[in-house]
Amino acid sequence: MNDTAQLPVLVVGAGVAGLTAALEMAETGHHVVLAEREPVIGGRVARFHRYFPKLCPPTCGLEINARRLEENPRIELRLQTTVTGAQPVDGHWSVTLETAPVHVTGRCTACGLCTEVCPATVSDRLNWGLAEAPAIRRPFPNAWPQRFVLEREACPEGCRACVDACPYDAIDLKAGPGVEEMEVASVVVATGWRPYPLEKLPELGGGVLEGVVSNVQMERLAAPDGPTGGRILIPGTDREPRSVAFVQCAGSRDVNHLPYCSGVCCLASLKQALYVKEQLPECDVSLYYIDRRTPGRNEDFLTRVAGTQGVRLVKGKVGKVERNGDGLELTVEDAEAGKLLHEHADLVVLATGMMPETGDPFGLPRDEDGFAVSDPRRGLAVAGVAHRPADVAASVRDATGAAARALAAAGRRS
């Protein structure tokens, strides 16, 4: 079908949406350039512990996708690469791809000798700052590609420890950035999301109180490759919480923060309530919500968690989280009882929403919340959470749809 369309399609972002769009197009027979800002693929989902409602690990699907990616000669993966410029040319796009310095080259065998000698540590972005990591490392055990990554700015002046340790000459401390101009037939924008910043919720203890974490941090606390090796502990301590409170709509459905609903936080918190109960059966779990949003067959998941002993769902808005002695105190407006509650918790999880990554060189139209809108006439399709708040299954469906739009545009415009 694509014999006439010689130019590749560009996919921006290799999270679950971008990866899906790229794979689906390549397996259909089209050439794809997949640009990813980070040195690894997988985006946000690579940092999740389990998916709702099956409680299956994201790495299982990523395993298959990584294999599909690495075995498919029709995909060219560009890591550490951003699209910095785009010009429409004769019905297609001319784009500028900028690649950050690649200090660990393709010669890396992932043998690990460099990490052993690295004297510098950095705040581990994978773990949302909950842990430190060597400046040169494999970002996480199942990271693709199997190659180490160096955060060069953390290197002590003149240090060459890793270079000297590497038997394969794979480390280049002097590597510079690369720039490339490229013609592409059409574009899938799958730039994803970032979590609403915890620091914007100081009244809920966000960024202020150590026992208050966001839902994305909670994923890391439960993950076997996380900062605690999968043990759910109160941050800053080695204590297990005896009570955990989930604060729903933390900065969502709120005109002062995000006016929309991210559609996934209720399910994410219900899932995390099970993480807690599986590990700490005696721990009390409370979840404070405005509405329990578990559409479709996810209703079964709500029923399952609500029926778990020691899990309490309270319709009420949390107004304040403060330190109280050893623990934390939540002020909750209990909508059903019609009164203010003062509740105790050792660990508070703020269910923060998803914000679309903004800024693209294509000038995509955006809705009032900043989500991008596809523009098929200009050969631009938006996929996943860049497009609308969505869970993984919906993002993947959306991405497959966006791939179809990009191929239709590529065929039409070439």
């Binding site: 299982c60 690495e70 578990t294 067959r297």
Partner: protein, 749 residues
């Protein structure tokens, strides 16, 4: 294969930990030409491999170095020319076992022998080259069906769009407005249906057949032969792939008598309100008067185990849209919403805000338990657990029930069970069997005549369904995973969804349909073994018509002829090997994966004499989850017992029981199978592979008991991909338990 090359990599510490000369000797003894390189993944290493292939020195290679999961892109070779096996000496041996140790060396030597045996038995796959049809059949002409048709046509394919009704439009054809598909999200939008119908007609590549149904579909992806019955009789057509977009219908409100539907004319459904608003009026059906207050009852029959246990996901937003329509055209009418949770996810929250603030609707969280007349022409809505203390009822002039959606699907597997039961009831071997079959047939009788696709498949005429009859994929990460290759569900039939999601889903399903056609043309498998070439070969002369393969294939690949002999449809096949595991006669094999090849691998293991006190354990690991978990454990330098010999398999469902018998008769002391979780939330990418393996093991253990071998010698463990912390311990613990048993008495036989 004949000319086997073994390339030993000594990099990453392998050379220091192992006696490479001895390893070379082992490979040579096994009949291979051996090459050693200090870094196989370097340019020089890859050049050495290529020159061994180009010179014709080798037609099959064992690359003994790092894991097959490492640097895959560097080790891509033409699968039609070379059989390649990557052996993870680094991960499975030297990173995880003490260097310079006798047991470590024995492990490496066994693994090399096993890899050589495997490639020796391997054959080159022959690429299927079939005539492939380009057209896509779309079943259902509603929003999703028309979008799917436009998508496939947009990608250059001819489309046949079959619709049962006499016109296109589907469930959304009535109302002139619907939920927003794009910004602004705070108001209803004009219906996309009329414009879509025009686009479909103008597209040129889309042939529309209204008032038509599918009579029969035979064949396989790329070669489906479809019979359609329309007003002018039957038409035959050939298509390459199929999208089922048969949508959903509202739940039958006549079953909601407790909410007053049927008893009181002023209790109507949301759809009935839409039809009224479409006519530009708002009047009580009972007396034609304008209502002063409308009560919207959410979750009418939804989230209710007696009716629809699930949430349809769009009724709340539809209510918001209707409130906005009413408030715009009839601002004097009061609107109240009685709800359990307002579910307007994503940007639809703006629609909720508009209904709440802009339209001034009154919202009350309450659980409605009845609607009755109050005697003066109004209705009383009764509820409990309301947020207003003491308030348990409200009067209204019109009650609108937000009823959920029911998929227009057919349960293919249930229909097949029904037909099987009917057949047994008729031709059963005994009266008891006939009676039992009759009972089953009665229980399933409501499936009679529900067929939609009418597939001529052994495993039923329609897509298998998940809970609540949605023919969805079970996979979160692979929503287009389908159990009938080349047939993709789209829109509300596959899962409750709003129109915006249905549109994207339709485009996605169309892409998968087009992709399946292209893959068939290239003779390649589709997901999850995308690109794989080798299809199963059946040596039918030895077939006993036991039907295990036709029954157990998760994808309905095999049909049966009148005698019950399997008939392969290779383009339906997903290459998992479950049929190979099922076959008691061992007559099913893939060129690059066969009962014989694995038997030879087992045969290549050197089993120490009993007095050496070194048990041998065989571990079959699912290559999608368990093997990667062990590989990740190796990257963390976790260690495990050196008695274990690993054989990765495509799926535990492909494990043939004969391998276990082979292993036991060779004196292997214990066998462990590690695969994906099964049951309700199964994680097996071939649906039932690990579950089938478990069932088959149940049968083996009986055999073990008869042979006076302890059943503890065989174990199956479920493991998720991320349980890399757990898997070394599983192997150690199993090895320890085997160590406590007497050695396998069949050693040395």
């Amino acid at each position: 294969m004949e000319r086997i090359g073994v390339v030993l990599c000594s990099g990453c510490g392998i050379g220091e930990a192992l006696d490479m000369e001895a390893l070379r000797g082992v490979a040579e003894e096994a009949g291979a030409t051996v090459l050693t390189h200090p870094c196989l993944c370097s340019e020089e290493g890859l050049a050495a491999i290529r020159s061994a292939l180009d010179s014709g020195e080798a037609d099959a290679l064992v690359l003994a170095g790092c894991s097959p999961r490492a640097q895959r892109h560097l080790f891509r070779f033409d699968p039609e020319k070379t059989v390649v096996e990557r052996l993870a000496l680094r991960e499975m041996v030297t990173w995880t076992h003490p260097p310079g140790d006798e047991d470590t060396q024995a492990l490496a030597e066994d693994l090399v022998r096993m890899a050589v045996a495997k490639v020796e038995a391997g054959k080159l796959p022959v690429r299927l080259q079939e005539e492939i049809e380009d057209a896509v059949l779309v079943v259902g002409g509603g929003l999703a069906g028309m979008e799917a048709a436009l998508a496939a046509a947009g990608m250059g394919h001819d489309v046949v769009l079959v619709e049962a009704a006499d016109r296109l439009g589907g469930a959304l054809a009535g109302p002139p407005v619907h939920l927003p598909l794009a910004p602004p999200y705070d108001r209803p939008q004009p219906s996309r249906i009329p414009g879509l119908v025009e686009e479909v007609k103008a597209a040129g590549k889309i042939h529309v057949a209204t008032s038509s149904r599918i009579v029969r579909i035979t064949g396989q992806p790329g070669q489906f032969h479809v019979t359609v019955r329309g007003p002018e009789g039957e038409v035959e057509l050939d298509v390459g792939a199929i999208v089922q977009a048969t949508g959903a219908r509202p739940y039958d409100a006549s079953r909601l008598g407790h909410l007053g539907y049927g008893a009181f004319p002023d209790v109507i459904t949301a759809r009935e309100l839409d039809l009224m608003l479409a006519e530009g009026r708002l009047a009580r059906p009972s007396d034609g008067k304008a209502p002063q207050r409308i009560a919207f009852v959410q979750c009418a029959g939804s989230r209710d185990p007696e009716h629809l246990p699930y949430c349809s996901g769009e009724c709340c937003a539809v209510t918001m849209r209707q409130i906005l329509q009413v408030s715009r055209d009839h601002p004097e009418v009061e609107t109240c919403v009685l709800y359990r949770d307002i579910r307007t996810p994503g940007q639809l929250e703006h629609l909720y805000q508009a209904a709440q603030e802009g339209a001034g609707a009154f919202f009350l969280k309450a659980c409605v338990n009845g609607v009755t007349g109050n005697g003066n022409g109004r209705l009383t809505v009764r509820f409990e657990d309301s947020l207003l203390p003491g308030v348990e009822a409200m009067e209204a002039d019109l009650v609108v029930l937000a009823v959920g959606m029911v998929p227009n699907s057919a349960d293919g597997e249930a229909i097949r069970e029904l037909h099987d039961a009917q057949h047994r009831a008729e031709h059963g071997e005994s009266e008891v069997q006939k009676e039992e079959a009759q009972k089953i047939a009665e229980q399933l009788a409501h499936h009679e005549g529900t067929e939609i696709l009418n597939l001529d498949y052994r495993q039923g005429p329609d897509l298998p369904v998940l809970r609540y009859n949605f023919p969805d994929s079970h996979y979160i990460c692979f929503p287009y995973e389908t159990r009938r290759t080349g047939i993709y569900a789209a829109g509300a039939v596959r899962a409750p969804m709003d129109p915006a999601q249905a549109v994207e889903d339709a485009w996605g399903a169309a892409l998968k349909a087009v992709q399946c056609i292209e893959a068939a043309r290239r003779g390649e498998a589709v997901h999850p073994r995308s690109g794989d070439l080798g299809v199963p070969e059946l040596f039918l002369q030895r077939c006993t018509q036991c039907k295990r393969c036709t029954e157990e294939c998760p994808f309905g690949t095999l049909n049966e002829d009148v005698d019950g002999t399997p008939q392969l449809n290779p383009l339906r096949c997903r290459h998992c090997g479950i049929c190979m595991g099922a076959c008691p006669e061992r007559i099913i094999s893939f060129p690059d994966y066969s009962v014989d090849a694995v038997s030879r691998q087992i045969g290549a293991i050197e089993v120490p004499e009993e007095d050496e006190e070194k048990p041998r354990i065989l571990a079959f690991l699912c290559e999608n989850d368990a093997y990667p978990a062990l590989d990740a454990a190796a990257q963390l330098r976790r260690t495990w017992n050196p008695w274990v010999r690993i054989i990765p398999v495509r799926c535990l469902g492909s494990v043939n029981i004969v391998w276990i018998a082979d292993a036991l008769s060779r004196g292997i002391d214990g066998i462990i199978l590690i695969g994906c979780t099964y049951g309700e939330d199964y994680q097996c990418h071939y649906i039932r592979g690990s579950e089938l393996a478990n069932t088959r093991l149940g049968n083996v253990q009986e055999t073990l008991d008869r042979l006076a071998l302890e059943s503890d010698r065989i174990r199956l463990v479920e493991l998720a991909h991320d349980e890399f912390q757990r898997i070394p311990g599983i192997l150690d613990e199993f090895a320890e338990s085997i160590g406590e048993l007497e050695p396998n008495p069949y050693k040395g036989f």
